[in-house]
């Protein structure tokens, strides 16, 4: 809806229409971020079990139970705890923490339904029970040597289903996600929201030379903004190379000297569209003369011995 082309398909964006009738985009989480979250959860579970074990055996809490004659009860509680931990750890967190588990929370992931709504208890239970199928196909260890002296059922858990199924749908859903009708989205909590600052005074001055009645079309504004917001990642030569496609025709149109720095022109356009006090619709007093520019040497030209010209030939 914002972009003229379908960015949702390539950016794995998913559009949600809220009851307020507003459409906003969620970004669907890819398999690798989710794998990381899963491993984190696994590590957390292992750590909790280890801590539990240490408290029971080393810290001597276990012996208190034994001396009180509650050994049996203790084992019962431990087994039950292991059962719920094993099958329902993820589901419980996803239910109480609004679709996140500790691992997902750390990686800014959240489970929602296909429509972007919160999941309910059954959905969280189902999508996590089916983790067992994700481990399929399980294959026995290949060689007799490897099978020897192993506990029953020596199998290799391949996790092939977990890898293959998400490839075949657009939202990277696991089997459990498909059955429960859920998806995992990225929910960033930290972001930078800034309008790029134009530190260069020359850009501000140059902005005055842009004809006051020029109103940039929507797509051009977008292109300019995208360029200016990321130009700090580029070298001077690269800036020139990228900016020239837009800047060259503009220079011609504005009647500015052809050796004006392309980068500077786009910055000026950005400044004028978003930052300057003057309104963009050309109501400013037309006092400045473009003629001044041709008489003196162009102060906005890229320096002839700068790396700009040296590298870009």
């Amino acid at each position: 809806m914002v972009a003229p082309w379908n960015t949702e398909a390539i950016d794995s964006q998913f559009k949600v229409v809220t009851p307020e009738n507003i459409a906003f985009n969620y970004q669907v989480a890819g398999p690798f971020r989710r794998l990381l979250a899963f491993l984190l959860d696994l590590a957390i579970r292992a750590a909790v079990i280890l801590a539990f074990f240490i408290v029971l055996s080393i810290a001597g809490v276990g012996s208190i139970f034994v001396s009180a004659g509650l050994e049996d009860l203790m084992f019962a509680l431990m087994t039950l705890a292991a059962f719920f931990f094993n099958w329902f750890y993820m589901a419980a967190f996803e239910y109480w923490w609004n679709g996140t588990t500790p691992g997902k929370w750390l990686l800014n992931l959240r489970v929602t339904t296909d429509e972007g709504e919160p999941i309910n208890l059954f959905q969280s239970a189902v999508r996590n029970l089916f983790r067992y199928v994700d481990m399929w196909p399980m294959v026995p260890l290949p060689f007799a040597v490897m099978r020897e002296e192993m506990t029953p059922e020596p199998v290799v858990v391949t996790f092939l289903f977990a890898l293959i199924v998400p490839i075949f749908n657009q939202r990277f859903q696991r089997i459990g996600d498909l059955v429960a009708g859920t998806m995992v989205v990225i929910e960033d909590r930290s972001w930078l929201m800034k309008i790029a600052k134009i530190e260069d005074d020359r850009a501000r001055l140059l902005a005055d030379y842009i004809p006051p009645n020029f109103v940039a079309p929507r797509s051009m504004v977008k292109a300019v903004a995208t360029y200016v917001e990321r130009r700090r990642y580029f070298t001077t030569a690269r800036r020139r190379e990228i900016a020239r496609h837009l800047a060259e025709p503009l220079l011609e149109k504005f009647g500015l000297p052809a050796d004006t720095s392309y980068d500077l022109l786009l910055c000026a356009l950005y400044y004028r569209t978003f930052l300057s006090k003057h309104s963009a619709d050309g109501t400013k007093e037309d006092s400045q003369l473009l003629g001044d520019l041709t008489q003196q040497s162009n102060p906005y030209s890229a320096a002839p011995n700068s790396p700009v010209t040296a590298q870009s030939k």
Partner: protein, 354 residues
């Protein structure tokens, strides 16, 4: 108005909304206070409006991105996961589930498959002169030895009778098997294989214990132990496998009878306000979802049966109660199952009126 001014003006509100989101994520709703909640709602609506207008304001793309994330985050806080409505649980458990199970073709299929194979394996294992080594082939020779040793003593004298840890162990072990049976059902073949495997092993074990190869005493101990919890446990396996197959079949054949569908599931093709593409009803994925909806209650019933069976297995089966009491328990349990599935489950008209 200049864009930078506009953003500076609105940014205060956006940041306030951000802070409120963080607060709501960290604490319960009650501690936030009514004033903040009302404020949150107002700010959220304002942010939604800003997002909708972003295009006509010509906001820079990174601000639009920011607004998408902000609205998404606030949306996630506003619409949170709902609590379960426990008041309907009785109605679901005693009216809806038995009817669904009674009519469920998959449960019927697993029921017949399981008992056929169980009885066949039992029969073959019980006649070792006609089918020598059958039980050992199916169950494994060392497992059979282990069982025979296990039941050499009377159940009550083994591992000190009933214990809480025993109950927990059975819950863990048996329910785990049930869940696996259910979950694997999505790959229909896998589900049927697991079911048949369980049926064959259980049947062969039962048959072997009844065969003349095993001493009178051991087989008596075995059946004394197994009788009480058998009905619930075997039914639970059948139900779990049936629920799994229901999901698997709904994936294979995406056709559902119209009368078995709820009004909101009828094929009408959803059409959202912004999305032109009309979805064809019953793509496999939708069918899968309907299947899952049908299967879940069955699995719930199965889980309850597994837990009940584990309780009986832990507290009654190994106890020193006389064998007749255990048999009475088994008969009582079977009767309960009959009432539940047949009396409560028999399809009737008044459900339509209700």
């Amino acid at each position: 108005m200049k864009v930078a001014h506009l953003i500076e003006k609105r940014r205060v509100y956006w940041q306030e909304l951000e802070n409120l989101c963080a607060q709501m994520a960290n604490s319960r709703k009650k501690t936030i206070g009514a004033r903040n909640i009302a404020r949150f709602a107002a700010l959220y609506r304002a942010a939604c409006a800003d997002l909708a207008l972003a295009d006509s304001y010509q906001l820079p793309p990174n601000i639009v991105d920011y607004l998408h994330k902000l609205v998404g985050r606030a949306h996630g806080q506003l619409y949170r996961s709902r609590r379960v409505d426990w008041s309907k649980i009785g109605d679901i458990l005693f009216r809806q589930i038995p009817r669904e199970i009674f009519q469920d073709r998959c449960v019927q299929l697993t029921f017949w498959l399981f008992w056929m194979v169980f009885l066949l394996a039992g029969f073959m294992a019980a006649n070792p002169d006609r089918f020598p080594n059958f039980a050992a082939d199916i169950v494994g020779a060392e497992n059979i030895d282990m069982y025979e040793q296990m039941y050499a003593d009377a159940p009550s004298s083994r591992n000190n009778g009933p214990t809480a840890s025993g109950a927990a162990f059975y819950v863990n072990h048996n329910t785990g098997i049930g869940i696996k049976c259910f979950v694997v059902g999505i790959t229909v073949i896998g589900g049927i294989c697991v079911l048949l495997y369980n049926a064959a092993v259980l049947g062969a074990t039962f048959g072997h214990m009844a065969s003349p190869n095993v001493s009178e005493e051991v087989s008596e101990h075995f059946f004394e132990f197994v009788t009480a919890h058998g009905p619930f446990e075997l039914t639970a396996i059948v139900l779990a496998a049936g629920a799994g197959l229901r999901i698997g079949f709904s994936l294979i054949s995406p056709y559902h009878k119209e009368e078995s569908l709820l009004p909101e599931e009828l094929p009408e093709g959803e059409e959202s306000l912004f999305d032109k593409s009309r979805r064809v009803a019953y793509e496999r994925i939708d069918s899968l979802r309907i299947g899952a909806k049908r299967a879940l209650p069955v699995m719930g019933a199965s889980a309850i049966l597994f837990i009940l069976a584990a309780m009986i297995e832990a507290w009654i089966s190994p106890s020193s109660l006389p064998e007749q009491v255990k048999q009475v328990v088994a008969i009582f349990c079977s009767g309960l199952l009959m009432v539940y599935f047949i009396v409560l489950g028999y399809p009737r008209r008044e459900s339509d009126a209700a």
